[in-house]
Subunit: 344 residues, 2 copies
DNA sequence: TTGTAAGCGTTATCAC
DNA sequence: GTGATAACGCTTACAA
């Protein structure tokens, strides 16, 4: 008689040691007195006589059989798993993205293999290697290594970073978001706008935020100041810059567009320390649409990224059957919401 | 001549369609003019003549060969991947946990298969099924289904929920955290403490937070009020409760311990609306140690969970070779930090 | 409609 | 030490 591997609720499990023998299709076939091929057909929903199907299903249940998707993948070359490569899932933007991608994938029957890279280009490359060995069906990556090496056969979707025409990139409409921020600030009475940026030194889609902002200001005949920093420099230069632009307790700017919400809250704190009031003296708009908790309001006035749609679009592009006419860049629409750092 | 699958940087990839033929060990063997077994040995770091090894490695590089870990797993019954089952990776506590577990696993050479369940007990069970088919080497789960069915053969570590002696559970020292909160509040001059809780109706380790708080109050001869709600009830009862305990603009409590930081910030907002000042009129302590961004301070005075250590411990327990003497519950030490909602 | 057998890419057991 | 060969669990022609 076959030794069956029953499943137990976690509460029932005690230290019973069974022999290491997960039941296989062969076991099921024997238990159901049918041929191996028949069992396979049942589990692939192919036509099989009704009573055969029943016998197989019952036998499988009795034995606690589960298909071995590794063995299946070996045969079919499809593993129904995709890799998600993110710098860090702690950041609210990334974690929301991860959530969206993970559930979009699971809805389509795919597993998510999560790799975090801590912004390290070499770790990024190692992840790629690792998941390629794992024979994933595709990769969604938000990476900073401009020279990532990837099997060209493997579907790849990039988030927020454009590589080449043949690698689809999905991101927010960063340029439009910058324009929107400028429009709002001006509309709210600002006349001396400032753009502040800190981020990676490797170029990315989000650089367009500042471009859009400046462009919109210029278009309205307003001159705009910008300060763009790299992560390595830290926040200190902002502090100095702001302090040096205060005259008689008055800042030279009355509206600041920050490249992220994270920066906006930092700048807000700096302004407070400098004795400036937000939004009375200076209005602030960030970018991302971060909330503290899901039910909370925004942590600052902000340009909201449609993270959910970015996730869905990325997944859709990655899993698309016909890969001949993929767009090289899709920008999703952003929106504005007040969050206490503007005068509404 | 073999058709080799070179790797390209993402930027170089153009729409070149190659034939679907990832190189296999057989190809490498032929390319290097050695036997198949020799190639296998090279990739498993077994003893092989130095020049053979070199030839194989060069051939592999030429062909862009990568081991197929599916095929390997089929043979060896180890996949070097573990499943992480979380309700939702958007919540800061969960995302930090995910980050810690993911990197601890990757450090040990394991991949993380992430599944999010949205607190749905059935989704949790489906995840378990799915990852079992995937032949993961183990599961780390933070789940709410009290009757999860799992293959008893498969190593399982539970976070924050105790199932049975044979299923290791790792969590913070919730009871101790409650005591700590009580001690702090009392030390800071509170005399009329209140405990507020909202959460799942299925019991979990975090229930001990309130128990510890009450116990510590009792021990010091102070009577303590508690209000414990289920998620379904929403925050409204808190609002009513607080409003009904105000007399002449004065709240009946001067120190509140909230079961999470999320609740604490909500309660703080409610108190503000009711015209009460935090921390002047009422002091507040939360639980978790949440920050808005990694560099920021805490969003409220809080009992900090050692999330990093929970992650590491969970992984260590899961991957432990000798599974005969596993602890059934390990509680990790918490600490207190002020965050603006207490008088320090 | 059902059964048979070859083979997916790897590892492991043997003789050599 | 190296090299053929038989599994691993499954899918899939193809034969019955």
């Amino acid at each position: 008689m076959e030794l069956s591997v029953k499943h137990f609720t976690l509460c029932e499990v005690n230290s019973m040691k069974q022999k290491e023998n997960a039941p296989t299709m062969k076991d099921v076939a024997r238990e159901a007195s049918v041929a191996l091929g028949t069992v396979s057909k049942v589990f692939n929903n192919l036509h099989v006589g009704e009573d055969y199907r029943r016998r197989v299903e019952e036998a499988a249940k009795r034995l606690g059989y589960q298909v071995n998707s590794y063995a299946r993948g070996l045969k079919t070359n499809r593993t129904y798993s995709v890799a998600l490569i993110l710098p860090d899932v702690t950041n609210p933007f990334f974690s929301t993205l991860a959530q969206g991608i993970c559930s979009a994938l699971s809805q389509k029957g795919y597993r998510t293999i999560l790799s975090t890279t801590a912004y390290d280009p070499e770790a990024e490359q190692r992840c790629i290697q690792m998941v390629q060995q794992n024979k994933v069906d595709g990769i969604i990556g938000l990476t900073y290594n401009p020279a990532l090496e990837v099997d060209p056969q493997l579907p790849y979707v990039s988030i927020d970073r454009y590589f080449s025409p043949s690698v689809p990139c999905v991101s927010s409409d960063n340029f439009g978001g910058g324009q929107l921020a400028a429009g709002k600030l001006l509309e709210l009475g600002c006349t001396r706008p400032l753009f502040l940026r800190i981020g990676s030194k490797v170029p990315g889609e989000s650089d367009k935020r500042g471009d859009g902002f400046e462009s919109a200001c210029r278009q309205r005949g307003i001159s705009c100041t910008s300060l763009r920093l790299c992560d390595e420099e830290g926040y200190a230069p902002f502090q100095d810059f702001l302090a040096s632009h205060i005259e008689e307790g008055r800042l030279a700017f009355d509206g600041i567009f920050c490249v992220t919400d994270a920066l906006a809250v930092h700048i807000r704190a700096m302004l407070c320390e400098l004795g400036l009031r937000v939004p009375e003296d200076v209005q602030l708009i960030g970018f991302d649409g971060i909330r503290r908790f899901a039910e909370d309001g925004f942590i600052c006035s902000t340009i909201i990224q449609p993270i959910e749609r970015i996730a869905e679009t990325g997944v859709e592009l990655l899993l698309r059957e016909d890969r001949s006419n993929l767009p090289s860049l899709v920008c999703l629409p952003v929106s504005y919401a007040p969050g206490g750092t503007t005068k509404e």
